[in-house]
Symmetry: C2
């Protein structure tokens, strides 16, 4: 279910992606929202930290756990500009998050392809998240994809 505020919060995630871009990191950003309030932010920092696990989602999730002092986020939505990778899908599973909203599809490193059947839908027996988690895609996806494209073009 797409909510009216989804574009507003994805815009915040895009700002985080822009911060990553400005730091010469792959431009992906994420925010965690609870009760219509951003409680945590993150952007990709794999280069700065020399750590390929320092993805926007991991940083935003860990920040959110710290913020609420609990290890589950059943009332939260994570907005991320690009489809989560396998690792971040797994982290989102553990978080028991309420909703995941992402922008652009990532054909190379997106994690969802592992769970998808020939018909393009996620197989119920391979649903990688908590059973109650909702997944929404394509929110401001073109903006997110353009930022990625511009970044990789500039690196060639």
């Amino acid at each position: 279910m797409l909510l009216l505020d989804d574009e507003y919060f994805m815009q915040q995630a895009l700002q985080e992606a822009q911060n990553a871009f400005d730091e010469e990191e792959v431009p992906i950003g994420a925010v965690v929202v609870i009760n219509n309030k951003v409680v945590a932010r993150g952007h990709n920092q794999t280069e700065r930290l020399n750590d390929p696990t320092a993805h926007a989602e991991m940083i935003a999730l860990t920040s959110a756990f710290n913020h609420i002092g609990a290890k589950y986020l059943p009332d939260a939505t994570l907005y991320v500009t690009v489809e989560p990778c396998l690792m971040c899908c797994g982290a989102l599973y553990w978080s028991k998050i309420n909703r995941i909203v992402y922008g652009a599809t990532d054909e190379k490193n997106g994690g969802l392809r592992f769970f998808i059947d020939g018909d393009g839908l996620i197989k119920p027996e391979l649903w990688p998240f908590h059973p109650k988690t909702q997944l929404v895609k394509g929110v401001l996806g073109e903006e997110a994809a353009l930022l990625m494209k511009t970044f990789f073009k500039s690196r060639r």
Copy 2:
């Protein structure tokens, strides 16, 4: 390929698992080995840190990246007492690690079931790690499983 030293290093990972047990954490431990030397250790700290992503593997990997000052581990082996979950499989992918050696199978939370075909083998097109990564299972698996069983029995 099972190496002669695999049991020796898995014993070190089991010691980490014991440390987790003593801290009332789910008893899973991991070590990262390069050139026959342990360069990083980790044990599950999800309770202490209020963070369900604080798995033994994640902690050991991030510690290893810090230790070598690079974001890939093509010469390293990760020893972990229990089959990695989906998140940790994804993190191991990003690490480009040379070998993964695990002990006990985890039927509930192990990540490998997502990639396995009806014949019990990982489908080549769903291989979740770097193409060069080797996977070895069952090293001191009974010891690792016993520690897990004892832990969960004591919590009932």
